[in-house]
């Protein structure tokens, strides 16, 4: 008891520590352990070693679903990294430079963040709908009537439609992070650059961007994690199967389909091994995230050491 008395901080940390360990940290290890078993979640577990991994990569159907989902996740990440991220930086810089009405713009750009995903997907389907969609009406109005089509129903557009929704709703978060980082830059540096006659964009590339490099790298890794674990947009838009030809399938949806399948308690298209194969996919997802994250942390760390 005296040992505890001498360490009062333990009483503060322990409750949160226990809950966090039980529901956030332990599941990651437990998932790896389950992935070594053939298990439907209710009956007896059979230890099969790495067989689930072998099957995931060896079974033709599973492997093609895996690669399809992975490709879509990567497309989502690349689009976010090369289109959304620069847009976020640009918008943040505009707001940082105190453009007229920046408070209003800031709130407007951030507010889609507060809309629940089902609502966003619902509005998206309404806007891109073939019959009553606003987008088609707009095309007709500007004289591009022959371009109208049922956008949501085109498999080759699937992941891009998902991306448009993701981008619209998510652009504000990164922008706010960048804005916060930009506000930390000392005003002396900026003023000095101004006196030296550095142009608007020169100041952006020579001062602002190098100063917020860490935030940009952090945002990049968050974007990556998001793309690899994005679930709700694809699920609501395409259902468990991932849409027509699995066109909106992503890693997390593939995982959900195998582990929980048709939304029953312990369902799944591969019922006999729902939990085993499900957690196997989760572990592959985790590895895919973890490796990239570690590489990124090492790179960032080394850069700040210099």
């Amino acid at each position: 008891m005296t040992w505890f008395k001498k360490r009062p901080f333990l009483w503060f940390i322990l409750p949160g520590f226990l809950l966090y360990s039980l529901f956030s940290v332990y599941p990651i290890f437990s998932a790896f352990q389950i992935s070594l078993n053939q298990w439907d979640g209710i009956g007896a577990k059979t230890f099969v070693g790495l067989d689930n991994y072998g099957e995931l990569f060896g079974n033709k159907e599973l492997f093609s679903q895996l690669t399809g989902a992975f490709r879509n996740s990567v497309v989502l990440f690349l689009l976010n990294a090369f289109a959304v991220l620069p847009a976020q930086l640009y918008m943040a810089y505009l707001l940082y430079s105190g453009i007229r009405g920046h408070r209003f713009f800031q709130a407007m750009i951030f507010s889609p963040q507060f809309i629940a995903t089902p609502v966003i997907v619902f509005m998206g389907t309404l806007i891109f709908d073939g019959n009553i969609g606003v987008f088609n009406k707009l095309l007709e109005a500007v004289g591009l009537g022959e371009w109208t089509r049922p956008w949501i129903g085109l498999p080759e557009l699937g992941i891009f439609i998902v991306w448009i929704m993701v981008a619209w709703s998510g652009i504000g978060v990164g922008m706010i992070f960048f804005l916060g980082a930009m506000k930390m830059i000392s005003s002396e540096v900026m003023e000095a650059a101004l006196l030296e006659g550095a142009s608007y964009w020169r100041r952006f590339f020579s001062i602002v961007l190098p100063q917020i490099k860490t935030t940009v790298l952090n945002m990049l890794i968050l974007t990556y994690i998001f793309a690899m674990t994005m679930f709700d947009f694809s699920f609501i838009l395409g259902g468990v199967s991932g849409g027509i030809n699995r066109s909106v399938d992503v890693m997390a949806l593939f995982f959900y389909r195998i582990a929980f399948g048709d939304n029953s308690a312990v369902g799944g298209t591969m019922n006999v091994n729902a939990m085993g194969m499900g957690t196997t996919i989760a572990c592959v997802m985790f590895a895919v995230i973890f490796i990239v994250a570690v590489v990124q942390v090492i790179l960032t760390y080394r850069r700040t050491e210099d």
Partner: protein
């Protein structure tokens, strides 16, 4: 910072205007359409409603049992938020104000959660909750969501570390114990940070889709996002309910956001700086 303005303001503000007006359009479109009947919605994109009324809203309450979903969502929100605020401020205070050997390691332990999204561990979490007999209950969802302590712990630890030690010591001299100091002195001091955490987490919990989807199977226990998904699954039949449900799920939160937008954005940004 007026002197930092871009040279070609028109082009830049045009881009911001474009984005903002699109957002405004979506919100306005949604609100407007929620007044129109199913027939009108399906036949004509634009156009005036025959009768401008609250028929859809009434239907949402009467037929779709909106109050139940609202109650379920509110239940989860309040329980989760209370737990998160209590636990994370205690943890952050323990890490931020006391000196001990494994301090850095404990903080990192709490921060690695930022790298493990709940999706990755959901199967073991599901099994755990099932074995505890909490499947299909609001308790299970609240427990899982309340364990997401990483972000609040991070924000609050940064705050407590920056707090001058004098306050802590003078409370000690006045004879306050560890807990009294925490509850009477430190917790109130942290209230601005706690406030912004409250808002950020509220939105996250309120709009949470994945965990309730997996944990809540009976219609009686489902939350508002799941309700909207149920309507949109059978869109041609339920488009009026989906519309008015979407408005009811979105507009109250947006009003709150615009009331507190300064505070919210400040809170989010402060988390991103050190990130």
């Amino acid at each position: 910072m007026n002197n930092l303005r871009p040279t070609r303001t028109y082009v830049s503000s045009a881009i911001l205007w474009l984005y903002s007006s699109f957002t405004l359009f979506v919100l306005g479109y949604m609100t407007y359409q929620s007044f129109r009947s199913k027939k009108e919605l399906l036949s004509n994109t634009f156009g005036w409603p025959d009768v401008f009324g609250f028929a859809n809203l009434k239907k949402l309450f009467a037929e779709a049992d909106f109050l139940r979903y609202l109650f379920n969502s509110a239940w989860i929100l309040i329980a989760t938020l209370a737990a998160i605020i209590m636990l994370s401020s205690m943890v952050a205070y323990g890490i931020g104000k006391y000196r001990f050997r494994l301090k850095g390691a404990v903080l990192i332990y709490f921060l690695i959660g930022l790298m493990f999204p709940v999706q990755l561990g959901i199967v073991p979490i599901f099994l755990l909750i099932r074995d505890m007999g909490l499947l299909n209950s609001q308790w299970g969802v609240a427990l899982v969501l309340a364990s997401g302590l990483s972000m609040p712990v991070f924000l609050l630890t940064t705050f407590f570390e920056k707090l001058p030690n004098d306050l802590y010591e003078s409370a000690k001299i006045d004879g306050a114990g560890e807990w009294t100091t925490f509850i009477r002195v430190m917790f109130p001091l942290a209230s601005p940070v706690i406030f912004s955490i409250c808002i950020i987490m509220s939105v996250q919990i309120w709009n949470q889709f994945f965990v309730p989807l997996i944990m809540l199977q009976s219609e009686d226990n489902k939350t508002i996002p799941l309700m909207i998904m149920k309507f949109t699954n059978n869109l041609m039949y339920n488009i009026d309910l989906a519309m008015v449900g979407s408005v009811m799920a979105t507009v109250p939160i947006l009003i709150l956001f615009f009331l507190f937008s300064g505070k919210v954005l400040e809170g989010v940004a402060s988390g991103g700086v050190k990130g």
